[in-house]
């Protein structure tokens, strides 16, 4: 299990994975728009996407849970 948290407050620009997808460490999971940039959030470890808690356009807070990996 691994929780993917928002590294900073911003808006979800793009979700790049689906529930059930297998991911490797450092795979691109989603993009958060903040500080005028589209910032990629990477997978902290290999695993499977168990749950995605945000969708495109959502505002997120710093350290908000975005994705759960198993």
């Amino acid at each position: 299990m691994a929780d993917v948290l928002a590294p900073l407050a911003g808006k979800v620009w793009e979700v790049l994975v689906e529930v059930g997808a297998k991911v490797e460490e450092d795979d691109e999971l989603l993009v958060i728009e903040a500080l005028k940039m589209e910032n990629t959030v990477y997978s902290p470890s290999a695993g499977k996407v168990k749950e995605i808690l945000v969708k495109k356009g959502d505002s997120v807070e710093d350290e908000q849970l975005l994705i759960v990996l198993e």
Binding site: P7, L8, L16, M37, N39
Partner: protein, 577 residues
């Protein structure tokens, strides 16, 4: 020092499948811009009299001369699209670049004899200034293919006079020679007045049998005495004098080989002149590249073709700079300097063609939490903060001490702003970097990968702010401006917006004005514009970038003014700890 350099730590990650899929559109857009630039360069080569016609007259074009002169596969053109004065000819009428002649690097420049017989035209002096500066900074020979009809007389006011006017190359040649940098000239055709000085100012003059060089040509000699205007009788007299002069133009081989001896050699064939240059290049001091190599040359382990999937054309997208650099350097190996400090900037030693080079570049994306340490706001790559600025100062200073040339890679939005940043001394430390670079006295080059913006464009090895920058390259993703167009529009019109709102005026006209300003910023910051007006010295395809880095490294180490024994270098020891 073999343990340090023979096998450095590997870096850079393999490209992920999902990134390849995600970046297809970006890759296609980069390649489309590269295709447009390539088409513009091709069109530039074909301006003027067709090649076939020049060949029918028994001559070669400047391009054909270059092809014969330069070692195959080594020509790295510069200023291909440079035309800062918007000449109708679409060119500054000189062709230049870095190339090897007989295995040795030289800065090579020639007049385009297809256009106005190689005349001086507007913008050309600045082009030549860049070229003489390049030879000076790299300390390598300058080779001229002189074929210059002199001033394009109808436009003389645009370039004849002024501090940086067309006469400047003459003293610049003297300056190079006084610095021990030879200037070789292959001389063709008729070279009167300005063309004459272009031909006489180099160190060794090698002429074609039909060449002539003179203080003034037929036109000047016959028109020497102004008589208050022109009439038919005067024209008859002029025609008679000119006909006579045409039979024997001043400064021919019989004068400047037989009588004055200015010409060192004269050849019957055009190619013979080029053979003469090759022979003289072989007489000029140059180290064997092996002398300075710290390891055998090696191609990058990671494929340079993947650069198109790594550098997003979308200026807001982040990426890994380390992954880009790993695809440009030997073996995808490096020694990173202070990796835990100033995380917005990469600094490290890499090898290019087996030679040691310092690399500096902006990292992109989110920075570690708590950075910058002086502020309560998050840090973002592309921007410069206190630690990054200090780190670059240190790295440049160490490279200078160890006589290691530096390659800068810019993709920067600027230096952190606001009173917190001021208290963190960023203004002062930024200017310190200008001082450190200027103090360094080592060759540097710059690649503007994507954004070159605000003062950061100056201080990160930009050509505007130092004398060490040999040349600057751009890519299909390059954009250079003081700030983003929308930011500039807000800075210019925000108060006006309040005034208009408070006085009940409609806001649409102001919004239109702001959109026009943002569009102008966009139009005047694209790669073709940057090349045309000299913000960069060339726009280069991503897949060709490494060839330019190799040219820079090879030229920098060919005959350096100063050297540091590798076993006396400090920087590798500081990195090792």
């Amino acid at each position: 020092m073999r343990p340090y350099f023979e096998k450095m730590p590997a870096f850079g990650k393999a490209l992920k499948e999902n990134r390849i899929a995600r970046t297809q559109d970006s890759r296609a857009r980069l390649e489309a811009i590269e295709a447009e630039i390539a088409a513009a360069k091709k069109a530039q080569e074909e301006v003027g009299i067709p090649t076939a016609k020049i060949n029918e007259r028994g001559g070669l074009t400047v391009w054909q001369r270059l092809e014969y002169l330069v070692d195959p596969g080594t020509w790295q053109p510069l200023h291909s699209l440079y035309n800062p004065a918007d000449n109708e000819e679409g060119t500054t009428n000189v062709v230049d670049g870095l190339g090897k002649i007989g295995g040795r690097w030289a800065v090579i420049i020639g007049f385009d004899n297809k256009v106005l017989a190689g005349a001086w035209i507007a913008g050309q002096p600045d082009n030549i200034l860049r070229v003489t500066n390049l030879a000076k900074r790299l300390h390598i020979p300058l080779v001229w293919l002189v074929n210059c009809s002199g001033v394009k007389l109808p436009d003389q006011e645009k370039f004849y006079a002024d501090r940086r006017g067309s006469g400047a190359p003459f003293f610049r040649h003297a300056e190079l020679e006084q610095a021990g940098i030879p200037v070789l000239a292959g001389i063709y055709g008729t070279n009167p007045a300005g063309g004459g000085y272009q031909a006489i100012s180099p160190t060794i003059l090698i002429a074609h049998k039909d060449a002539n060089i003179a203080v003034g040509g037929v036109g000047i000699v016959s028109g020497m005495a102004p008589q208050g205007g022109f009439d038919v009788a005067g024209l008859e007299q002029l025609i008679a004098v000119t006909r006579n002069m045409k039979d024997k133009p001043p400064g021919s081989v019989s004068t400047h080989y037989d009588a004055t001896g200015f010409f060192t050699r004269v050849y019957d064939e055009e190619k013979g002149v080029l053979d003469g240059i090759k022979e003289y290049m072989g007489m000029i001091p140059a180290y064997d590249p092996k002398f300075f190599r710290v390891a055998e040359p090696a191609e990058p382990q990671l494929a340079p073709g993947e650069l198109y999937n790594l550098l997003p054309i979308n200026q807001k997208s982040d990426y890994s700079f380390d992954d880009i650099l790993a695809r440009l350097v030997d073996g995808s190996e490096h020694m990173e300097f202070r990796p835990g400090y100033g995380p917005e900037v990469y600094t490290g030693l890499v090898k290019i063609d087996g030679m040691l080079v310092g690399a500096i570049g902006n990292r992109q994306g989110l920075l570690p939490k708590g950075y910058p340490e002086y502020a309560d706001y998050p840090g973002i790559g592309g921007k410069l903060y206190r630690q990054g600025l200090i780190k670059m100062n240190e790295f440049v200073t160490h490279c200078a001490r160890d006589r290691v040339p530096v390659i800068w890679f810019q993709d920067t939005t600027g230096i952190d702003v606001g009173d917190i940043a001021e208290k963190a001394e960023l203004l002062g430390i930024g200017q310190s970097l200008v001082y450190s670079i200027q103090q360094a006295d080592i060759p540097m080059m710059l690649v503007v990968l994507r954004k070159g913006s605000a003062a950061a464009h100056y201080i990160m090895g930009g050509p505007t702010a130092n004398r060490q920058n040999a040349f600057t390259l751009g890519t299909a993703a390059t954009e250079i401006y003081v700030m983003h167009g929308e930011t500039a529009a807000v800075a210019s019109y925000s108060r006006r917006a309040i005034k208009d709102k408070d006085s009940g005026k409609p806001l649409e006209p102001l919004a239109q004005k702001m959109n026009e300003m943002a569009q102008k910023y966009f139009d005047t910051s694209r790669p073709a514009y940057c090349a045309r007006y000299g913000f960069v010295d060339e726009i280069v395809e991503l897949k060709s970038l490494r060839a330019y880095l190799k040219a820079f490294a090879g030229a920098s180490y060919q005959n350096p003014k100063s050297i540091c024994p590798r076993h006396q270098m400090l920087l590798p020891r500081i990195i090792k700890g």
